[in-house]
Subunit: 700 residues, 2 copies
């Protein structure tokens, strides 16, 4: 098979993924939605989520229109290739579409999962997991589709005249494709931040008034914010997560493509990332067939079932990547080990995330014990745990970068090594189809539990959905580790791609990237600070949005007669609407910070400063995101540990202290932490798109 | 005046500072210690602090003995100049001595301040401030003494034979002197971490059982941990702070000296930092005479009095630095503006620290309002506030570095610019005598308030000491901003000095400090993570030590009959002893982390990796320390704001929530945050001392 023919594996992979997602969707939709109440609740959640996404996409569309004009002007002025404004739009469109489809299927599966769980645990698992699969394969399918279309157009239409100069042709192609991650990043940031604010404002609002003030249980239909809370799971954990990983996936592929070109690998090296993705698609599809369980499954068996699928997919990639790299890069077979190092790093980060956040291990058990001396000590304990948990992921990423660099020949040719680093990110993300499926399954199970509760299904149904949900917490934690790990590697690849871009734009420009060069150093300081600033903004946004929900829920309890007695129905839609408006308003400032910072830093400190900023933000964003995700996850599970009967159980003083911890952890793990992943990639993407602009107008 | 003669200003400055400290000490000790009860309480605190320091110095002495042997072996193997082991010892000795004298005078001034306050507010201020002055001038006096002695010995005894080759002579001198900051850093780290653990364990322990469980007021003599709490103020905020700033002071001077040599400035440039310090001594002495107030002073007037002293000192330096630099560096007068930029940055960081932590401004007022919705929202609010507050200090430090670099000629000669960055750190620290005095005054006023309470002095005395103490909180916050700002600039200067050292050790070694070089990048990741790891360790250490105090206080309440009725006396000494043992044990691991990390990173990633680590740790340490100090300060003052009658006042639900915030803030602002300052300097110092070792044995 020639290199040129190899490329067509990418669109084939894309079609396979989309087809598989379609089949899974049909399968899920074939299940019963249960009784009338269940259907009604599910419809409310669906309606709320639709309303949210509609408003979000309207707002984001305006942003994209403005950016399209700005990029158009820049392209007209010769600062960008003319494809960029269009690529920007398609990136945003497909990223948004991934989230939208994921959300659609998730909101159609919640009642079906509850209903299936009333039949058997395995059936419940199958429905919830299949729903996750739709999401996972939609993301990779659309990602590969977008990439394939552009690659095809650039190679066979726009740059077809360069066919006689293949190295120049591939250079132009990769440079053009690199810039279109910005559309995906922008969309992802809006989705993650907006969704994160929505979900936590609803959650905190529902808890503060419903559970604490009115004393009604979680997911009680009398709570006016209960539907908003369920909508939040879908718009935050599903649509946001989908857009995020779409972006990592596409970003790591285009960055590595650009690195292949600067390493002089030509066509073969440039298409390897897409081929890895195509192979990963097939491996992931195969893996999904191994996810099943018996009826008497406990959490460990369930987790084992999901793990089995992921590990089998990884094993297939380990085997299949070897011949692929042998054909595409016959003289650089060391690259194969870079793929392995990325895969292994992903698995290890996932494992340690679980170690620090699951109450099967000591860290979270000890954290639960800290609740005995009150809320202050559990807060200090959780922050301390989160900070400690950053040590191993940093070492793992560091070791992975170093390994990928050297096995790919970085010792003799620097560019070879950097390509290896990019390929390790691609390797880590190659199993995305199934990893994302195990992750996106969580919110569906969570929603199913809520529906079981609200529609008064028999006790054992709730027990089964609880088993599924509790597992979902673990896979969500692992998924977060995976998302941040891949984001860090992708961001590193993008930084190097940025440096290459500068050289392409202005080959005479001599960069001084020495860390002692003041612009680099100051840029790094600014970069290290940015994730803190960004987290501050997103956390206070949740606080403000939650305040409005608190007021509204209090109002409804006071004004709607018979609500507490169950004779009147709460006005769910208003709560959803308040969350939607709050999230839309509050997401603007953090998102603009991500877009404007690289431009300001570039104008003041020059391109060297930008590189410093990107490196600093990637490192500090990685550490801070791991810390926030793990602190939040551990608080959540410490609370669940106590609710399981330890230290006095539900309602005891330690439990109250643990609830404080969990409430602090909510914006940590579901708003600020995951948004940082996207921030660090968006910063690089914006820098790349504005590279020529900065070169021209910077003070330095 | 010739350059050679100029040097003698340094020992003269040292003698002036020590003389002034001595006179102030005599003055303070001339005041009455008050009645018998006051004397007895003060004696208990003194005894406890002595016992703590004795045990600490014994432990640290063992560490120094071991390090002396290790450094001796390295010197014998030719990896260090033979002076280093001795310089290491003197640095540690003088740093420890600074803390010891500061603590001695502080524990002798607490009862005297209480007694003086019973006469008039101005008298109280004079005693407390004079006590702070003793500390401030001891630190700069001993610092300059240590520097002068070594400079004299190296120039006129050890390297006297090089008199014919002045540039080689000064190069050798500066290289030897650079390494002796490590002794000071190590001592400072033990003092800060140990003291920080002691003070917060005692504070948290006293509060949790005394205030919360037994319901007795703060500083009540029935609380067995009350003396330990007062001792803590002295060993943490006084002895720890003194050792910390001693280290910044000496570190910035020796680093800048080394940078002068690599910039080719020769003798003149090398002594400028010491001369700046000498001029600063005189300026600080003059400034102290302007600190006084009338009897009807409110907090604003009091703050104005302290500010006046600091601003006058700064103004004197602005005037005096100009002729000094004109004489010493006639061809590089732009350096003068680097001094200014450092001074201005110090003032600005101090101002913004106050803005974010004082309840006269909106951030802390809004934080207090967050207590209305419970502990979780005030915690989220405080963390968010701390994160937001990092933006301006980063911009200020960045602007200061950039300004100093370019006004000193960095645009044409890189080394000139780096020297400017070093000199800006020296400029910021030149007013240390008086800045430290205004800072060290706080714990004395705090102790005085405790003594007034415990010895049942009239109500208006406590009101006056409260006015002094409340002001002390503001100056402590400003002092923390100053400490971390100067630490960051000093650390940056040390990083550059490290790079120079490598070139001196092995002129053939080509460094690749490009940020895209994997060892640099990974080193930076590790560096960014280290302050998180370190903070986790110190926070959990406080937790463990506090648990032991809680148990002991509970035991005493249970077992000592008549304690609650006031007929029997608590066993204060045991609580002090438990804190002491806890702090000694718990400080070992974090301190070793600071010492071993650069060696491990060096061995694995090489010297390029070490530079990456140092840069990453400085940036992330700066941001994290600012965040922790400001979150903690704001929580503290939000609680005080509520206690002042807002949102329901003392005992209300919002107050309880604010107490949770304050308790979380305690280790943030008094243990972890301030220890990070020293960590980042110690990392650089250890790297410098082990430079040749790493060059020889590193994998890379």
């Amino acid at each position: 098979m020639s290199e040129q023919q190899l490329f067509f594996l990418a669109p084939i992979g894309s079609i396979l993924a989309l087809l598989f997602a379609f089949i899974q969707a049909k399968k899920v939709l074939g299940f019963s939605e249960g009784n009338e109440i269940m259907q009604k609740i599910s419809a409310s959640v669906r309606k709320g989520a639709n309303a949210y996404l509609k408003r979000q996409y309207t707002g984001v569309a305006m942003f994209f229109a403005v950016m399209f004009v700005i990029l158009g002007i820049m392209a007209f002025a010769g600062l960008l290739t003319p494809f960029v404004p269009f690529a920007f739009i398609t990136g945003g469109f497909f990223s948004g579409l991934s989230g939208f489809i994921g959300m659609k299927i998730a909101t159609s599966s919640n009642a079906r999962t509850a209903q299936a769980s009333s039949e058997s645990l395995n059936r419940g698992l199958r429905v919830a997991f299949s729903s996750g699969t739709v999401m996972g394969f939609t993301v990779i399918g659309l990602g590969l589709l977008d990439l394939s279309i552009w690659f095809f157009l650039l190679k066979y239409v726009f740059y077809a005249d360069l066919v006689g100069d293949p190295s120049e042709q591939i250079r132009r192609i990769s440079s053009a494709m690199l810039t279109f991650g910005m559309g995906a990043s922008s969309m992802a940031l809006f989705a993650r931040v907006g969704g994160g604010i929505f979900t936590k404002a609803a959650d905190v609002g529902a808890d503060l008034v419903g559970k604490v003030e009115a004393g009604i249980p979680e997911d009680d239909p009398r709570n006016p914010a209960v539907i908003a809370d369920n909508v939040g799971d879908n718009v935050g954990d599903v649509a946001g997560m989908g857009a995020d990983l779409y972006e990592s996936y596409v970003g790591s592929i285009v960055a590595t493509m650009a690195l292949a070109v600067s390493a002089g690998y030509g066509f073969g090296g440039a298409v390897v990332p897409m081929l890895m993705a195509a192979v990963g698609t097939v491996a992931s599809i195969i893996g999904t067939f191994f996810v099943r369980c018996g009826e008497k499954a406990d959490q460990k068996t369930l987790l084992g079932a999901l793990r089995k699928g992921t590990y089998i997919s990884s094993a297939i990639i380990v085997v299949a990547a070897y011949p692929l790299i042998r054909i595409a890069l016959p003289e650089h077979q060391g690259v194969y080990f870079a793929v392995l190092s990325g895969l292994i790093a992903g698995v290890l980060i996932g494992f340690f995330t679980e170690y620090y956040t699951s109450d099967h291990y000591n860290p979270t058990k000890n954290l639960a014990a800290a609740s005995l001396t009150g809320p202050a000590t559990i807060i200090i304990g959780g922050i301390s745990l989160g900070m400690l948990s950053t040590l191993l992921p940093v070492i793992i990423v560091g070791a992975s970068v170093l390994t990928s660099f050297f096995v790919s020949g970085g010792g003799t040719n620097f560019s070879f090594g950097l390509y290896g680093v990019g390929i390790s990110a691609v390797g880590m993300l190659s199993t995305l189809g199934i990893t994302l499926a195990t992750d996106a399954y969580g919110p569906v199970a969570d929603n199913a539990g809520g529906i079981a509760e609200m529609s008064h299904l028999p006790h054992e149904v709730r027990e089964r959905t609880d088993a599924l949900d509790s597992l979902g917490n673990t896979t969500a934690a692992t998924g977060k580790g995976f998302a941040i790990g891949s984001a860090a590697l992708t961001a590193l690849a993008l930084i190097v791609a940025y440096i290459d871009e500068i050289n392409i734009h202005d080959p005479t420009f001599v960069m001084n990237l020495e860390i002692k060069n003041p612009p680099v150093l100051i840029g790094m300081f600014v970069g290290v600070m940015l994730p803190f600033l960004f987290s501050s903004m997103t956390m206070s946004a949740v606080g403000r949005a939650a305040q409005n929900i608190v007021k509204e829920v209090r109002r409804q309890f006071k004004e709607i007669k018979g609500l507490m007695e169950g004779t009147a129905e709460a006005d769910y839609a208003t709560c959803v609407d308040i969350c939607t408006r709050g999230a839309q308003k509050e997401m603007i400032l953090p998102a603009l910070t991500g877009i404007i910072s690289p431009i300001i830093v570039g104008l003041v400190l020059g391109v060297n400063g930008v590189v410093g900023m990107l490196a600093g933000a990637t490192a500090s964003g990685f550490v801070l995101a791991v810390m926030m995700a793990n602190s939040g996850g551990a608080w959540d599970n410490a609370k669940k540990h106590i609710e399981g009967g330890k230290f006095g159980g539900k309602g005891s003083e330690p439990h109250k202290a643990a609830v404080v911890g969990d409430t602090v952890g909510d914006p940590f793990k579901d708003t600020s932490g995951p948004s940082i992943n996207i921030l660090i990639k968006l910063l690089s993407m914006v820098s790349i798109v504005f590279a020529a602009f900065i070169l021209k107008f910077s003070l330095f």
